[in-house]
Amino acid sequence: MTEHVKVLEASGLGKRYGSRWALRECTLEVPAGHVTALVGPNGAGKTTLLNLAVGLASPTAGVVTVLGGRLAGSPAALNGIAFVAQDTPLYKNLSVVDMVCVTRNLNRRFDQSYAKARLAELGIPLKRKAGKLSGGQQAQVALTLALARRPQLLVLDEPVAMLDPVARHDFMDTVLTAASADGVSVLLSSHVLAELERVASYLVLLSRGQVRLAGEVKDLLAAGRVASLEELALSHLHENATEVAQ
């Protein structure tokens, strides 16, 4: 996949729950080949945007396509995207090996040898029920299952929010390996800015359901004359808060 292909394109995208717009007039292009960080305060619309991108939710307004024009949620899109939802849901009463079998059966492509090797490397017992694993292990299992589908785009919703610092670091290492060694594009949301510093090469800043800033991290840092991603994000969020106050 080349740089010119857009892994995510949204135009005039909006999602309303009841009378509240969780996301509105979102127009966005995310190029392939990046680890893209979707940042913003709680309730900014990060999860909504990701749910729309993976086809769990359908838009109230506008269009969202992935992987170079495939309609989000369509069979073609599902074949190329792997999604790890918030709190990394697994079937708690299934063993790890059962989860591997279930995921293999539910997908056209599945690299079973990768999954088995990766789980062995992590020291996760295959016979244990998913519900009996630690939070960090559950997250790693969910990520392994997602990567074994050999996606072109890996979507992660707050993947490390519930993890301790060590598990968080290990998880991000796995993501980075997939991104750098295998060329998987990654789109991940987080409100832990410090963790993203290390991994993200593209940034999308959301606030109050709208895109405030989008671009390559190195360009944004240069233009904003700031040293870190955290500083950049905070300055924009503060600016935005001042605008709203006025």
């Binding site: 697994l90 009463n93 990768y114």
Partner: protein, 350 residues
């Protein structure tokens, strides 16, 4: 560290055929084997019980029918032995909840658990596709609960056969009609159809309510209401009832109503009561036999004085047509409910 063997992605992906349906078999088995084994254990346990008690029942029935002469003390003894057996099963009340238990505990959690634990976010973003996933699960499990229920109903038919066999009136039974409320839907295809309907109600309730325990409770409530309404109001209208003036209907007839006429008019109930009370004293002979005698005398008296008794009824021979009518509309209802559930899964509201 192991890496992915194949570099991510190719443009040819867009044209891929969907994941074959048969792949869902392994998924369904892994996810629902505990519930399916539980279902087989429940029906298996009941089968053993019914088989043991049923053999005794059939044995007693055979002994009673083979006995000659009919009125002898030995034969009365045999009749009583048969009539006194298996009091806890004879009215069918214990077995009535079986379909709804199967439906509520397999159907309701099917989608409610996915919604409650958030695993739908995993399941619906896999390559198989959400509506195909839902359809495959619902149809497979619907068959997986209906087929054993149908087999079980064959056993129930066998078990209850003596009660409905011709000539059983002699045995001093209460004269069961095949439409007897507690037993009608245990015999024949209606049992499997009610099980399927309970499953379909549960699946839809689970998708709408999204909570396992509430969905089970609602399923039981809806099923109970539906079963009551059908038994009380709907079933008698499947075919137009027959009307007769005959005074001796067979015990297999399902009597829906009786009234009197005299000279082309229908006397009021109060008036009939007055006629009967003024003519007859309370029965002289005590006990059921005495009452029966008095009742016959009343009928004869009224018939002689120009009153005609009309009876509206469904003949016992309509048992099978009624079974197929009920099974048919329950099947149609279940298909509709399952279609609605799949539609709700497909309509993306998260």
């Amino acid at each position: 560290m192991s890496t992915l063997a194949v570099p991510a992605g190719s443009a040819a992906d867009a044209g891929l055929r969907p994941v074959p349906w048969r792949r869902m078999a392994g998924v369904i088995w892994r996810q629902h084997r505990v519930a399916l084994v539980g279902l087989v254990a429940l029906l298996g346990g009941l089968t053993v019980l019914l088989w043991i008690v049923g053999l005794q029942l059939h044995h007693a029935y055979a002994a009673a029918t083979a006995c000659h002469p009919a009125g002898s003390p030995a034969c009365s003894e045999a009749d009583l032995t048969f009539a006194g057996m298996d009091g806890f099963l004879s009215n069918g009340i214990i077995l009535q909840p079986v379909p709804v238990l199967i439906g509520a505990f397999l159907g309701a959690p099917l989608l409610a658990r996915e919604m409650e634990t958030g695993t739908f976010r995993y399941a619906w973003t896999q390559g198989f596709g959400r509506w195909r996933w839902a359809l495959a699960k619902l149809v497979s499990l619907a068959i997986a609960v209906t087929a054993p229920a149908w087999l079980f109903s064959l056993l129930l038919s066998w078990y209850y056969q003596p009660y409905f066999a011709t000539g059983n009136q002699r045995l001093g039974l209460t004269g069961y009609t095949p439409f007897f409320p507690g037993l009608y839907d245990l015999r024949g295809p209606a049992f499997a159809a009610w099980t399927l309907a309970a499953f379909a109600v549960g699946a839809l309730a689970g998708m709408v309510i999204r909570r396992v325990v509430s969905a089970i409770a609602v399923t039981i409530a809806i099923y109970a209401g539906l079963a009551f309404a059908v038994g009380t109001f709907l079933r008698e209208h499947y075919l137009a009832p027959l009307v007769t003036t005959s005074l001796n209907l067979p015990g297999s007839a399902w009597i829906l109503g009786q009234w009197w006429t005299k000279g082309g008019t229908v006397p009021s109930e109060a008036m009939m009561r007055q006629v009967i009370d003024s003519t007859f004293q309370p029965p002289v002979v005590a006990g059921p036999a005495g009452k029966m005698q008095a009742y016959d005398t009343v009928l004869q008296y009224l018939a002689q004085h120009g009153y005609t008794q009309w009876t509206k009824y469904q003949p016992g021979s309509r048992f099978w047509p009624f079974q197929w009518i009920e099974s048919g509309w329950l099947l149609a209802l279940s298909v509709l409910l399952i279609a609605a559930t799949v539609w709700l899964v497909r309509r993306r509201v998260v």
